[in-house]
Symmetry: C3
Subunit: 521 residues, 3 copies
């Protein structure tokens, strides 16, 4: 079965609309709806005063209709009363501006009062409901620079590095007189006079990711009886290391709002690469009159769910013009008819199991590191670069984090993997030594996990110093395998050469499904 549905926010509508909602869901073949994402101010209208009556009623209606429920904890949008009572739980941006209520996602995950309020409402939900799927929070992503964060950052650094001497070493603090003698001297990367320290900036993103992960875990500990997940937002601004988080969710779920079908294909391969077992679902995307065509790239790449934001278009609020399964024009609209046609088509389909012989490495830490100023290639858009290589490849592709096992792939493509810890160096060497075909693009391996330059670290694999390479493509035997190193922006010539090599290794067409081994890492 494939999950099909979307975010359902019945609290925005009078009770009279609910029955019609259920009827239309059945008409559209909806079998899973996400409820409660933005309901905190309804569920707990005053601190400690709960109102679950309306939610009971909605869940009963859904249950009676046989529609599954993905129940969200509402913690991404604390109510106005919370803001008023806890101004110090509001996030502060890098310029020191304290944000206030007026949108969504306005909170600091490191603020004790916010943490306590979250555990309280989540505890109530956990005690009361048994959904098919738990959905923690919504699109984690708020970065804060407040004093709670400063203290938590110091604890995180202390746990990671042990002592200040190590911190000074890995952060290269002797540059620009940044040597610390006490953890207390370390601050979040707040507004400063000039360029920040890249290691400092990168560790802060890692810390924010971990602080939010801790927030997620604290909720997950209260939930039982169903798988638990959260929906991943994608994008260069998102301070979440999804590869790491994927080990903490029962099913990988992504939200995807791209412009092109090839971008959808990339997101699908990426989500599958994050999942331990190849199972993943599309938790949000935009409904449209081309819903069937839009769903195909996801389905073909193993999606076990096709869900939208949102069921019924909101009359008011910031996203009143966001597309919806039931748009403002109502069910008698091209969008709803298309959604219903897709729902019908999905009834007989099952999630596809994908096996691939090509792996493409993608690393959010590299993306973050490449957002620093004063880099060798100042214009480099890492995400766009990887997507360009993805588009140039044929057949099933596993988009993988650099730490994933590579054995068994005919071809591993590594575009601009700027940041390479020692274990990634080792894994690439092992893969090639054992007969693999590796494509490395210029800019890869320039720094270690602390953003320290590592000159010469790839010279043996590349067969030359990157500095001395003048050819567009360089081919190099290494152990039983072959390395292609390219400085060209166009992937085609390199991939053509690599395909010949990889085909030779398996006597099969490149990227074909037949030779798949362990493709769904």
């Amino acid at each position: 079965m494939i999950h099909f549905g979307g975010d359902y926010n019945p609290e925005q509508w009078p009770e009279s609309v609910w029955a019609s909602d259920i009827e239309l869901m059945l008409e559209a073949g909806v079998n899973l709806v996400t409820v409660g994402v933005f309901s905190w101010s309804r569920l707990e209208p005053r601190p400690g005063e709960f109102d679950f009556g309306w939610l009971d009623q909605v869940l009963d209606l859904l249950h009676a209709a046989g529609i599954g429920v993905c129940l969200a904890t509402p913690t991404a949008s604390p109510p106005p009363w919370f803001t008023r009572q806890n101004p110090h739980s509001m996030p502060i941006n890098r310029d020191g501006v304290r944000l206030t209520h007026g949108s969504r996602d306005t909170y600091c995950v490191n603020a004790p009062a916010y943490q306590a309020a979250c555990l309280s409402i989540v505890g109530e939900l956990a005690a009361r409901y048994s959904p098919q799927l738990w959905h923690v929070h919504n699109e984690y992503g708020t970065t804060c620079y407040c004093d709670f964060c400063a203290a938590a950052f110091r604890r995180w650094l202390s746990a990671r590095y042990g002592d200040e001497a190590t911190l000074n070493d890995v952060w290269s603090t002797d540059f620009w007189s940044q040597r610390v003698t006490s953890w207390e001297e370390v601050l979040p990367p707040r507004a400063t006079q000039y360029l920040g320290n890249p290691a400092h900036l990168l560790d802060y993103r890692r810390f924010v990711s971990d602080a939010m992960l801790e927030h997620y875990r604290s909720q997950r500990a209260l939930l039982s009886g169903a798988p638990v997940t959260t929906n991943f937002a994608l994008g260069g601004w998102v301070p979440v290391d999804h590869a790491r988080w994927s080990r903490e969710v029962d099913i990988v779920a992504i939200d995807d709002y791209p412009a092109t079908l090839s971008d959808r294909a990339f997101a699908a391969d990426l989500a599958r690469g994050w999942a331990r077992d190849g199972r993943w679902m599309l938790m949000e995307h935009a409904p449209s009159a081309s819903a069937r065509a839009v769903a195909e790239p996801y389905l073909a790449r193993g999606a076990s769910g096709i869900c939208y934001f949102q069921w019924r278009a909101s009359r008011g609020g910031a996203e009143q013009w966001h597309p919806a399964m039931v748009p403002h024009e109502g069910p008698d609209s091209p969008v709803f008819r298309e959604i219903a046609a897709l729902g019908a088509a999905l009834r007989d389909r099952s999630p596809v199991t994908v096996t691939a012989t090509i792996a493409l490495l993608y690393d959010e830490e590299t993306m973050w590191a490449l957002q620093a100023p004063h880099l060798p290639a100042r214009e480099l858009d890492y995400d766009a670069t990887v997507r360009r290589w993805h588009r140039a490849l044929d057949g099933p592709i596993d988009v993988l984090p650099p730490t994933a096992p590579l054995a068994g792939y005919d071809l591993v493509v590594v575009p601009s993997l700027y940041l390479m810890p020692a274990d990634v160096h080792r894994a690439l060497r092992d893969y090639v030594r054992d007969g693999g075909t590796l494509v490395l693009t210029a800019g890869s391996g320039q720094v270690d996990e602390h953003c320290r330059v590592t000159p010469g670290a790839l010279d043996d694999l590349i067969g030359a110093r990157p500095l001395d390479v003048t050819a567009d493509v360089l081919e190099n035997r290494y152990g039983a395998g072959t390395v292609f190193y390219t400085t060209a922006a166009d992937p085609a010539p390199t991939l053509a050469a690599a395909a010949v090599q990889a085909r030779g290794a398996t006597a099969q067409p490149l990227g074909g499904p037949a030779q798949a081994v362990g493709g769904t890492v």
Copy 2:
């Protein structure tokens, strides 16, 4: 008689220049000058210590020369001593930055100390002088987000909506968990994490407009013996609902700094449409060597005054390079000669009475609502759109607020009137039912006065659902009249079709002055 003159700031010049000023004013045919706009720090050099001697002298000189005086209250630019004594009266921007003295317009209209200081200096002026025209403040427009504003905003909301339940309803607060349980939870739309609530944003602009109007009224209550006005600044950033304010001034006065003659024509039609009696004046525009040509579009559209900023170019200060009637080069300059020629030409002219058979609707609340993010047409520049339709029309045009009476117009054109309360819907239906010809452009009527989507609200008038319209122009009989609905960017085809229809109704050329009925609303 047509008022002709400009801002006169004699305090910037030694007394020896004043006599020459008067002489040149007479040479240029100047009959009205605005005095005192930026004089607070001269009139009240220390708190409560007044110095009117120099102003007495200047007004005596003007009186002796027979030059009328438009006396301004100087409250738009409080002196440095005020800032120093009252830091909490300085405005705070949405990021929480407290602004300081260093320019002009740096005040919060809701700060009690500022209000008291204004009433004090205005009371002194009112007791002492009897000008021909009172000019309150200058170009109202400072938006503030401080705690005084927060409190006043809550009072304003409470008076408008009565209780929190109504607020929750009209603001659609169930989206993103924004439900409030107490007025105290409501804040100005300060910096927040993501998109704001459009109803919140729009109501804050309305509130700022009303708060400044209250400030204006408190001064007007002290002034007597002459008409009272203030000069309207135009532009998308100005938080003033001029249609509403126009009911509170004795004569509508605008400042206009556009790039083209057609923009001047639009501003003139707009000002006349705001005026109850067709009387309005151009309080500021830029002197130039084409002053006569520049004045014509205003004069042809009913201006009763042609005034400039400013009389004599300032040697220093932020606007030292602003054009002036007496420029830095002195009276022996093309600009002054042209100004004098215009002054001479105006001696024999009177304000024109304009009658028009075409109405074009323009609404500042729609302009504000369309500044929200995440709209269907994200690129839409409302002001530019209305101006494009204005340029495409021939003959006298009344640019009117949506609440103006429409009966009697041959043609009513409504470009992109996104925000439409129920009474505007009714007025448009009544107009067409009674035989009118209405042109509606795509994007009109999408939301009500609280920015809530109103699907289907115009379907009967349009004769179809907007969603289903594929034609560029749709013609539809409704009652005794006709509706044209267009999705085309180019107004020409629609206006050509509408003209045939409207001409048929009156058997007269479209837009000609003969059939005017109530054109000067």
Copy 3:
């Protein structure tokens, strides 16, 4: 002898690298290195606790190798402990954001605690070391708007203008009601509602320059036994009046990071023009594989030193990708080989003495004044304009501040010298009256030193009112000399005409070295 070397930061490397550094320096012909610029957190790891051992060792190694030392005071980058202990010594930007540690240059020169900490560490260094050259601080340039600055600004204004009445006069405070009655009412130009006062803005830049100069002087007073300098950063944002500062350094030293060779030539002529005796050195530029070609424009224009940032590329930190003499690839790299070749070539060369017959005026106060909003030529980039005229001139050119003596030059070119005090007016008149040839471009002389418009001030020199000039080039006899006034963007036609005139005066080719008189002001 020509100084050849660069910034040497051995504290970023283990001791084991130092011996190799010395060896490579000798191989490259390095004879001067700048040590200690970013060493404060190493030299004083805790307040009052000093560690000079490593520096002693490094200086001993350099001494033994015969390599000269330019010892820097490390005050441009206070350590993290300083920030933690002295949050009020951190700079505040114009929006009121207090910056924090995380980069370099984060300090307020007017903060007493910062001043004290600087004098302490500099006193220690002065007592301990005897370098060949003292290098105070690094690239002065941090602008702050805090209350310490406000108080110091008031003292500076009071010393400059004596009383508030004079301030009101020179700042034209009657515009926009800015009249002050007490120094206490004056603030730094912090965030305000609208345009600032140009005289206020300009005086704040002068004050910041003087406040930093005072900071420099306080350090210089402690240093002895060697010449003292600081390295000038160039650029429109830099709040340093280098012409004024040049009188306070024993040798003018600049850092130059331009894009083209002609920009390097301009910087060299500019530095030489600032120097009292024609002696100047290039303290920083970027090492590259074209180092010899890059050095030539500087050497040909009198540089007595060719130095780089930095010796060895840093593994981490914000500028890890900044070019270096020993790049990440090590000494076996094209860059190091080129550097060594240049070092060898310099062994036999001496600084060139430049004599020029053409002077080009350049004024940082004009650059600052032209950064104000609402100017006649809003697009004017002063620096780019002067560089364009510099490129159009042949032969040796002295780029001079407007106060430099002009007698003896065949030709003086004055592009867009917006700000002209009375003494500059006088100097230009004297120069022409005595037979000189002067090229003035449009926009020159529009305001005095207080940004007050001075209409007519150049009419006699130009031979017409600028307003009335329609020709591209106007030629005008004045006394025994000739004035060319041009409104053309292209310098060529004017310079061709001026060359004929100037050649006639000397019967020599324009710009040739033979006729040089006092060219190295």
